[in-house]
Symmetry: C2
């Protein structure tokens, strides 16, 4: 964050341009398709931009591989779930080979891992998560708790700082079979101490399942070193795999023989094409595949991760810290006095690559930003404008432009021109 | 099949060309990418060919929608699972709107529907399927039976004629909660009487779950009229959705309120973006979505189904019947004397759009066909060369060429040049 020294008083656009000139990753923005250079895209943590190499790979895949190789393409495609998985493990997760596969959605992967973990702790009657965890994470364990007659303990999430270790420690007793949280809070961006909370789970005798959707590709992870048991993450945010790209899942090597997925599918069968009478789970990560994996999305994820590999996660993280730090300085200079509070940890080292700006009219301000200002942030209820700053595809001048336009709209009370959503309290 | 009158003695290539000239769907082949006109593709029922319109749609989707609209594309994409589902229902399934969604893989959809059906019959301890059902179908219910301590009754499948009603009637007693079979047998191609077997299930008080993967897009279905409860099918065979395209699922309208999926995900939540504390299943088919649906694959399925809609399933089916009938006549004229037996029903009206040719060296013959003859069939153990004849993309001369080359290789005992797979008995 050294580059930001003095930035708190340097809020003119020239300074942003200077930050871009000093940014070793600045040229990476040109590796993405950007056909409206005036658009400010603050939602790369919801859907990452399209890398040029991905557009090319998908053309080759569709025209040459599907179009020409036809079913013979499976000679190559069949390796993708584990090959791309290994790349994700190496580049993003601090995971040795053979522990990551790419398949299905984050939700389905959460379900598979949580169900298998509970099967491995049949005498434990409690699942622990937090009430600020991403909705799908909470719903998956609600469903499993209901189906199995288990208790779900949802510890309170601190709105800015995320899950608190004390709360987890209090909840994680000897009845708990599974503990599941997110590495980066989808609202506030708070980074949780994965190793420490995993250790609390292990002391209680529980397995720990982590969702890295808002972290992977922005915040480095060390899943092996942190002794994480299970993890999942999204393919379409910082991994730039495109809308509905498949997700990944991680199973610690030492656990792999002991866990069996609840969905027994032919892609998880030991000898898939023998098509034998009884399901026998494949060795390693292949058992976690269920049906035929989505090849187009797999190839797109592969390209996105290759971009991150080219740059290295250390540089990606440094850029992300600099971007949210710079955005914070603009908030402090312009927006705090206009009624915005910071809904993220004030220390950039403690948050991922997005910033939560809280404002009572956030819902309508987002509409104004999109309709009138060419700025695309996200909204998270009840009052958060979520500013996602994808490290590889965001320039400092883009941050400046977005905040400048937001400031003008807020001064102008632009939200009065937009309806509140039916039934929604802003 | 009128067009085939006299074909049994007309086995020269000119006759095949004449059949093509008389075929009202012949020009449809040009709507597919075919860059090796010499290739004989007999595996469109494993991976359908690439339609030109699909290549164009995917380019627009990637470059314009993802590349330019970015996250705003979800305004359109979010409707795809149910909009494409309704199109599949209308064109392929005889299903009124609001009963089909496209999402996840066939395997995951089977799991979701089977689990929900068992939840709806909690006092029933038996699942019925057949031992010749597609592997993933058998494995899914094996897994559910194991997890819930249920009995799995696998009735014997007739190798040529598929599941027999007498066997089902004997197995479907008052302990059965779920009955699940395939509409078209993946090996023999036998068409099962869905309405009759569903009725047997209902008389026993069970729910009926059908897999139409090898039928939909080749054999018309009337799921509403047949009173089917639940169904799934594949997106990448006759629907031409590309490798790993998402599957579809059908839930009869009258059952929708009573069934809740086992996987509770945010795309199945009543008010998804409210992100409220408790999962409340959405009305209608949306509750069956779990995670973020795969947009690229959805768009590709949409185009494939649109092609089928242009032609109409009646014409598609007539072409499929003519193709397998013609192939049968070539088998009879050339291959029977070379040791091939017909592993499919002899009446084209009783089989789908593929033909099983049984030969003790089928495994090695397939290798010879691909490596030496530019013919791509499939192999299904222990002894089946599976000849898939996708109605929209296959010409009669292509069938002639493929059978001509197969005859030459068989005469030549070409299999002796190929290894038997390790551990495989041919």
């Amino acid at each position: 964050v050294g580059v930001l020294t003095g930035a708190m008083t340097r809020v003119d656009r020239h300074h942003a341009a200077a930050l871009d000139r000093a940014d070793s990753l600045a040229s990476r923005v040109d590796e993405f398709v950007v056909d409206d250079p005036g658009l400010v895209y603050f939602d790369g943590n919801s859907l990452g931009r399209l890398p040029r190499r991905t557009a090319a790979r998908l053309r080759r895949l569709v025209d040459d591989e599907w179009g020409s190789d036809l079913v013979r393409g499976w000679g190559r495609w069949i390796e993708l779930p584990t090959r791309v998985g290994d790349r994700i493990g190496r580049v993003l997760l601090g995971a040795a080979p053979g522990q990551v596969a790419v398949c299905d959605s984050t939700t389905v992967n959460l379900y598979k891992l949580a169900a298998a973990a509970l099967d491995a702790r049949p005498d434990r009657r409690v699942i622990v998560t937090d009430d600020g965890n991403f909705p799908t994470d909470r719903y998956v364990v609600q469903g499993l708790a209901k189906a199995r007659g288990l208790e779900l303990r949802q510890v309170a999430t601190h709105p800015v700082d995320g899950v608190q270790p004390e709360a987890v420690e209090a909840a994680a007793d000897a009845d708990v079979g599974l503990v599941t949280f997110s590495h980066v809070d989808f609202r506030s961006g708070a980074i949780v101490d994965v190793a420490a909370l995993t250790d609390l789970a292990h002391r209680a005798g529980a397995l720990a399942l982590w969702d890295l959707s808002h972290a992977a590709g922005a915040v480095p992870a060390e899943l092996d070193a942190w002794e994480v048991d299970l993890a999942v993450g999204c393919g379409y945010k910082y991994l730039n795999g495109g809308p509905g790209a498949p997700a990944w899942l991680y199973v610690r090597a030492g656990l792999q023989d002991r866990l069996v997925p609840p969905v027994w599918g032919w892609f998880g069968q030991a000898d898939q094409f023998e098509m034998g009478p009884a399901f026998e789970p494949a060795e390693g990560m292949r058992r976690w595949l269920a049906g035929t994996p989505p090849v187009l999305g797999l190839a797109a994820v592969d390209e996105g991760v290759a971009m991150l590999e080219d740059v290295g996660m250390e540089a990606v993280r440094a850029k992300g810290v600099a971007l949210t730090g710079y955005a914070q300085s603009l908030w402090s200079a312009w927006l705090e006095r206009l009624g915005f509070t910071l809904g993220s940890p004030a220390d950039a080292a403690l948050r991922g690559s997005h910033l939560a700006l809280c404002h009572p009219e956030a819902f309508r301000l987002r509409q104004a930003l999109i309709a009138e200002a060419g700025v695309v942030p996200d909204f998270r209820g009840p009052d958060i404008l979520r500013i996602g700053l994808a490290p590889l595809s965001t320039r400092f001048v883009e941050v400046w432009d977005g905040f400048d336009r937001l400031r003008d709209l807020a001064r102008d009370e632009a939200w009065t021109r937009y309806d509140v959503a039916p039934g929604r309290v802003t």
